[in-house]
Symmetry: C2
Subunit: 358 residues, 2 copies
């Protein structure tokens, strides 16, 4: 058995009782932390930071040294997969990620193949191994990937987009081409997550950042379906322990029931849905992760604690099956001391709720 | 009686039967049209175009000359109201609108007052009068405003924002200040829409572009409540005709029932919600406007027609109470001839559905 000392995160994902509601924050190792900015400067570039297992391990652990978090998440970027597919990822200051060779031509799309994660993404597996060793079974380590549709958005647009003009033109006029990209990418994502699990990731999360930009029918056909395919290929048990999976479609609140049905253990929620309503809608089928507005962290510590209590109260009396998180990644403008107020409020208030209940 | 010859748009908003489903497009007078770009160049700047009633009338009519649209919408900008409140609106190339004096200090917030629309926004009323005269009762004219919360976002942030850091800090830490801004702005919006109605607008629409960035509780308190206040002050009848109102919160699909309850005649839908599901959720309380993905217009005319038919079929057999529209403003990259395919498909297929039904 390799369950970590603090296994509250894994237990909550599996709907098992916990002494408190576990909490971690999307993008918890990031620019809001001065120690992160220091390591990032030392690395040279963002990608050099991702590709150096020692430095990736260092920044993964930084938020755990500051805060009483219940999980660690691999420090990496969702675009490592298309980069390994040969698209040539690079970062420009202020404009975010870009690809040198975006997928625009039919021949390039037909040429696409899933990379061997043990070869082209070896640096990620080395980071996972090193982080697991450094965590020393204190808290679980989360591996992750972008969803096939979200990765395809970047691959076709060549950068982040506001209108998704190119990929949506393809979706409506050449669905065959987009389905081909998504099928290959789903294979790549499945193999990538399995390699992370083999390397030591104890749970995995699929980030569907852009599925929420689709119509309900297009979402089911081009995003949800391929996440279901990924989930179907995942290793479900490692060293005798279940490896739970979390699916998070930002802006997917209208489609919760469908997301809960694709074989994941937990569904991530952004902050636009009431978490109590979400629980009623999905019943006991899945755990829920979320969902405070990350902008709450700009407020005073007292307000942060009050808003955290509202989410916990809103979840309902039982408190089983809830992983507390932000509804989106933490902002770079968050004062680091405000995170302490959030994490401590979640632990204190969720313990109190359990006492009231029992 | 002053109903226009083609009153299908007004009838649909009032849940009365129509021979076809009326259609208009958000931002139908805009940059995708070469004739608009020509007039815009002649005007000098975007604001000079808004402030010149003759030119505003010219661009309002341009899409009606090209397409068989069932309504005209006043050409203007939602930020004319905060500009009239003294914030100093200006436009920068590529960065969108900005305010010279964003609302940051408590004294400036306490100083805020609702402008007299007949004085500071006279140019808008003159445009409405001139457009009504030019339309010559062919199709109805829609007046509009931003919602109080959406206007407050721009007023506090000073520009468009991705994280709404400043207004959300105020929302959580100084709700009293934000409530003051919203109360004054709601008064301003109510007076502004009433002046448009007095000048000839035959329906009004409130654009809540940023309410969807809020948590459900914050949405109710800071956006929905103030739209309800605006609606309560509106002139409901003019020259013996009901003046219907439409409320559109982008990203508000989870909150439809609440939006339908604030006293509007119709609710606008973005493309992330299934329109049949929306109809079932709100019952017969309100008409629905929407909701095809504007990105569909990048596809081929045949695909556009097929997708338009899906929305009409999805709405359900009765077809009463539906105004066809995009789920968001038309993109500047839309080929103008593609709009013809959309408008004609809506008219043809909706006539066919009515024949099948009767």
């Amino acid at each position: 058995m390799t369950r970590p000392c603090n296994d509250s995160f894994l237990r909550a994902l599996l709907m098992e009782p916990t002494a408190h509601t576990p909490v971690w924050l999307m993008r918890q190792a990031g620019r809001y932390l001065p120690e992160y900015r220091e390591t990032r400067a030392r690395a040279g570039s963002f990608m050099q930071l991702c590709m150096n297992p020692g430095l990736a391990c260092e920044v993964t652990l930084q938020p755990l040294a500051r805060y009483d978090l219940d999980a660690a998440i691999l420090f990496s970027d969702i675009l490592t997969v298309p980069d390994a597919m040969g698209l040539g990822l690079y970062f420009t200051d202020g404009e975010g990620p870009r690809f040198e060779r975006p997928l625009r031509e039919e021949w390039a799309i037909r040429d696409l193949s899933a990379p061997d994660p043990w070869d082209h993404l070896r640096y990620v597996m080395d980071a996972v191994t090193e982080i697991r060793r450094a965590l020393n079974n204190s808290v679980p380590l989360i591996g992750f990937s972008g969803s096939p549709y979200t990765l395809a958005c970047y691959m076709v647009e060549g950068a982040s987009s506001t209108d998704y003009r190119r990929i949506k033109s393809m979706l409506y006029d050449r669905p065959d081409l987009l389905h081909h990209i998504l099928a290959v990418t789903a294979n790549a994502v499945g193999a990538y997550l399995n390699a992370q699990i083999e390397s030591g990731a104890q749970a995995v999360m699929i980030f569907d950042s852009w599925g929420g930009s689709l119509s309900p029918a297009a979402y089911r056909e081009f995003s949800l379906h391929y996440m279901q395919r990924v989930l179907a290929t995942l290793i479900r048990e490692k060293d005798g322990e279940r490896v739970p999976s979390i699916v998070f479609t930002k802006g997917g609140g209208l489609w919760l029931e469908s997301i809960a049905d694709i074989g994941c253990d937990a569904v991530g929620l952004d902050w636009t849905i009431d978490i109590g309503e979400a629980r009623r809608r999905v019943g006991d089928r899945v755990a829920l992760q979320g969902n405070i507005d990350p902008a709450v962290l700009f407020a005073s510590p007292a307000t942060i604690a009050a808003e955290a209590r509202k989410v916990l109260d809103g979840y309902g009396a039982a408190q089983t099956g809830h992983v507390f998180n932000l509804g989106h990644g933490i902002s770079q403008f968050t004062p680091p001391e405000h995170v302490t107020a959030l994490v401590d409020a979640v632990h204190q208030h969720s313990r109190l709720l359990r006492q009231k209940c029992s």
